[in-house]
Amino acid sequence: MKEKRLSIDFFIVNELDAQGLISPEWSNTVIDEKKIQHLKNTAQKVRRKIIEILGRAGSGHPGGSLSSTEIIVSLYEGIMDVDPSQPRKMQRDRLVLSKGHSCPALYVMLAFKGFFPVEDLDHLRQWGSHLQGHPDMKSTPGVDMSSGSLGQGLSAACGIALAAKIDKRDFWTYCIIGDGEAQEGQIWEASMFAAHNKLDNLIVFLDFNKQQIEGRVDEIIGPLQYEEKWKSFGWHVQTIDGHSFKEIFHAVDTAKKSRFKPFMIIANTVKGKGVSFMEWNLDFHGTAPKGTEIEKAISEINDSAF
């Protein structure tokens, strides 16, 4: 996959390599091979279900759901402290999926965790379903904040992290934003606020999948120097492979040990990851697979070897 990324996005990856940001040293204390295997199996199941429910719904956003799958699986399978039987418990970690269109991945993960029956996923985007086209905290158990309009979730995450600080509570607030989304000015208002108020209980993932609805992010509006941007805004920043569980867990571990600054994890990802004809394919940003595409995608995911 890396070769493919190099060929298509040579500029971006080359730049990251030059900064020496890929492959820090790992220890096995944070995550072991057995756990990684479990996470990979879960991600495979999540991807398969994403394709199934988007296919059934006939609309939705596969590209960003598949690019953020490992991040969301990691959060709910070992990082976040949540209790599916008490989704509104005050002492819990929270996730704001600011790039709300990636909610199929979140919904599948929440269902697998037991926040609601897996069968509910069959009614995604339908009248009467609690699974709305974009996240609705009032409808769906386990959704901590409504989102969908880009640029707004990071501010909400800051508010949640700030509430924890005011009340001296020790829960963590996570947020996932998109690279296209980072074009919104509000993202930078929130970034200033988080650093100024030393929200070191806030851990943010940038799902850097390098594409947005109308094309490549770097071709639509650059520059993309996210590391420099967030560093200059007063954040801790770490760049990782967003499909590597080892790197995700280590980055979060580092983030939790870091103090006085919010933490940005720039996750290099592949849009449409896991289905060959969806990877780097803009047609699948906001269009659901149909007919034989569904079968082909599921069969590819089933056959993927770990």
Partner: protein, 313 residues
């Protein structure tokens, strides 16, 4: 002559009063806390007061996050920046999830005065009341602002409270009845109903006094809660007088005049004259001059009343 006091001063004082009772209250400000009087809260509770900087969209987003973690949030700036700039954040981050965010804005209306058009918010009530879950209150004076504050903290969910910049006559006292969602009749009459909101109540009462000298008995109703509006009281008065004048320091498109017309057209269709800003931007000038120039002064209300009486069945 009634004492003159700022509605925003009522806000600042009420914030301290409420902050002492409830440690869950957090106040946000977008660098205009001295002007909105929100900053008073910081003198007592600095740990619960945050100036987010000149970043209104973020302020609303922060408010939504605080609210969904159990806080009662007051967010303040000038009305134009509190509603226009972050409208979509208010809709999607606050109102959609019915979060407990109270947006209290000063500098509503034309009486902002010298700062001119960019700072005179004449559309805020229109764009707030069209959002589901949002409730809208425009108090008439300092005392009523304090009462508004005490009531809205008791109810979870979003509110928009519109205050002014100038000093306005204090027309109510601590004992004047106040209930969110209920209009209040300040003067009984049978020939015409004058319905005002906010600080225009003073002008409405003066107009009624002048009309009396011309043998016209005007009923004066103050509607502080524009949403949910007191349809029952409005309809009952209109059924009696058969004609209505609305008075507001806001565009006649979408404000009180529209809200009252919406009530009347479905339950009691009678002629309505709407005093307010007639689809225009403001200009610099003193509040008194502007009220005259924009045809919202006492003689304008008197003329509108006579005109609408002529249109009666």
């Amino acid at each position: 002559m009634a004492e003159l006091k700022g509605t925003r001063d009522g806000y600042g004082e009420a914030l301290i009063e409420l902050g002492e009772k409830d440690s869950n209250i957090v106040v946000l400000d977008a660098d205009l806390g001295s002007s909105t009087r929100a900053r008073k809260f910081a003198t007592k509770f600095p740990e619960r007061y945050f100036n987010v900087g000149v970043a209104e969209q973020n302020m609303i987003g922060i408010a939504s996050g605080l609210a969904c973690t159990g806080k009662t949030v007051f967010a303040s700036t000038f009305a134009i920046f509190a509603t226009g700039r972050p409208w979509e954040q208010i809709r999607n981050s606050v109102c959609f999830s019915n979060l407990n965010v109270k947006i209290v804005a000063s500098h509503g209306g034309i009486t902002v005065g010298a700062d001119g058009a960019s700072h005179q918010s004449l559309e805020d009530v229109a764009i707030m009341r069209c959002i589901p879950n949002m409730k809208v209150i425009v108090p008439c004076d300092y005392e009523e602002t304090k009462k508004t504050m005490r009531e809205i903290v008791k109810v979870k969910g979003p509110y928009y409270i519109r205050l002014g910049r100038a000093k306005y006559p204090v027309l109510t006292n601590p004992d004047t009845p106040f209930e969110v969602g209920k209009g209040h009749i300040f003067r009984k009459g049978k020939h015409v109903t004058i319905i005002s909101t906010g600080t225009m109540l003073d002008h409405a009462l003066k107009a009624a006094a002048q009309l009396e000298k011309q043998d016209v008995q005007a009923e004066v109703m103050h509607i502080h809660t524009i949403k949910p509006i007191d349809a029952e009281l409005i309809a009952a008065s209109a059924k009696k007088t058969r004609c209505v004048v609305t008075v507001e320091e806001h565009s006649v498109i979408g404000g009180l005049g529209s809200a009252v017309s919406e009530v009347l057209c479905s339950c009691c269709p009678v002629p309505v004259e709407r005093i307010g800003i007639q689809d225009k931007f403001g200009r610099s000038g003193s509040p008194e001059v502007l009220i005259k120039v924009y045809n919202m002064d006492v003689p304008d209300i008197v003329e509108a009343a006579k005109k609408v009486i002529q249109k009666k069945d």
